[in-house]
């Protein structure tokens, strides 16, 4: 017994080291699996409070740019509005912005944004009190940002599309060939569209939009344009580098999309959807 105590006291630093190392590796592994509650996250009220405080100050320096972005969006919406009045009488009118389901949009502000790590998250200043739930889509006027991951009463955490495990269903705007959007962790403005079949007409500069197979995003939201593309080893699928329309390093205000039909569709299909 005496020897055991002596051993413990002599090696207390090594034991403490192993214990602390194990604890931090445990936290790391926990964040690598989705949808587990842990308190090490920027969507708790303490860190959320500090982030919203600092971003309040920071926002003043970006006001002009945000205003310009809003003006641009207003201009586009007005153009669509006038065109709608013109085309109401035309039959068989289809538009990619003519969303299939019923979607509800909420506005929020990004208070913390990561883009330099392998797995990136954003924190936004709306939470359960505003009706936000996990698995809602997050977009800006220019394109897709990510998916809500975890919420508390006042803040939410969003998985950015710059996350090694994010999978968003996307397709070519010209044809309906679709694939999954992933990120290889290198350039925060370039993401990869994989598993596009070889018969798809892929051209540099073509637009990539969200696909209709997702319950999170409406079909036809812009994502980016094709930068370049390669064939994979089996010569049957394209891997496409997509340059995002959004500047992921400077986001500001965002919209959160709720699919009001989601529960109905899920209960009908009775299976988990595999897009994320």
């Amino acid at each position: 017994m005496q020897q055991i105590f002596n051993f413990l006291i002599r090696n207390k630093n090594k034991i403490l080291f192993l214990f602390l190392l194990g604890l931090s590796v445990f936290f790391t592994i926990q964040t690598h699996s989705f949808h587990k509650s842990s308190f090490i996250s920027s969507a708790n009220s303490f860190t959320g409070g500090i982030y919203s405080w600092t971003s309040d100050i920071e926002n003043y320096f970006h006001l002009e740019e945000y205003n310009e972005r809003l003006l641009e969006e207003n201009k586009q919406l007005r153009n669509i509005l006038t065109n709608l009045n013109d085309t109401i009488s035309v039959e068989n009118y289809t538009d990619s912005s003519n969303f299939e389901g019923v979607y509800y949009f909420r506005a929020a502000r990004v208070i913390n944004n990561n883009f330099s790590k392998a797995d990136n998250y954003l924190t936004i200043n709306q939470g359960e009190d505003a009706g936000i739930k996990p698995e809602f889509g997050v977009v800006t006027s220019k394109g897709v940002i990510g998916i809500v991951d975890r919420v508390n009463s006042r803040f939410s955490r969003v998985i950015s599309i710059l996350h090694s495990e994010a999978r968003i269903n996307a397709q070519l705007s010209k044809s309906n060939h679709f694939g999954s959007l992933t990120w290889n962790g290198k350039d925060p403005n370039i993401v990869q569209l994989i598993d596009v079949p070889r018969q798809a007409p892929v051209n540099r500069g073509d637009t990539i939009v969200t696909g209709g197979k997702s319950l999170i995003f409406p079909e036809g939201l812009p994502i980016g344009s094709i930068e370049d593309y390669t064939m994979d080893e089996s010569q049957s699928y394209y891997t496409i580098n997509v340059r995002l329309f959004n500047d992921m390093t400077n986001i500001g205000f965002i919209y959160i999309i709720e699919n009001l039909d989601r529960d109905n569709i899920l209960s009908l299909e009775d299976v988990e959807d595999d897009e994320q």
């Binding site: 602390l20 931090s24 964040t31 090490i40 860190t47 790590k117 392998a118 797995d119 962790g185």
Partner: protein, 140 residues
């Protein structure tokens, strides 16, 4: 920024009093790393890297400063520049390598891990050497 992110909080591990309690030092390093992880949404990678750096620090001190470390009255500002640089380089290298390995969490990205370690490490070393020389007290 893409590859280059200096982690200046390593200064804590570099500067913590050399002759104080090792267990307390380990715990403080862990808490510092964990605090950064909470804000960065990165699980426990900074905590792990800090704890490893703190644990190997006595060995590195002995390695870079030799006999004067055992006298327990070492001041980082009054050491030769070469020895100080070796000490900073080793600690930053170990810290960053653990940090980025845990962040990537797969051996497929070993090249990316080494690249990030190199680029960020260079910047951390430059910034910590600069801040050490700016904020060091002058002993006359």
């Amino acid at each position: 920024m893409g590859y280059i992110n200096p982690y200046l909080y390593i200064l804590f591990v570099l500067l913590y009093p050399f002759n104080s309690n090792q267990s307390l030092f380990l715990i403080f390093s862990f808490l510092l790393g964990l605090g950064i992880d909470i804000f960065e949404d990165s699980g426990g990678i900074n905590a792990a890297a800090c704890v490893v750096a703190a644990f190997v620090r006595p060995n590195l001190l002995r390695f870079s400063f030799g006999i004067s470390y055992d006298h327990q009255n070492l001041r980082l500002g009054s050491t030769p520049f070469g020895a100080r640089l070796t000490y900073i380089l080793l600690i930053v290298g170990i810290h960053h390598f653990v940090l980025f390995s845990l962040e990537m969490f797969s051996l497929n990205h070993i090249l990316l891990i080494l690249k990030k370690t190199l680029y960020s490490g260079i910047f951390t070393v430059i910034l910590s050497t600069l801040s050490l020389s700016i904020f060091s007290k002058k002993y006359r």
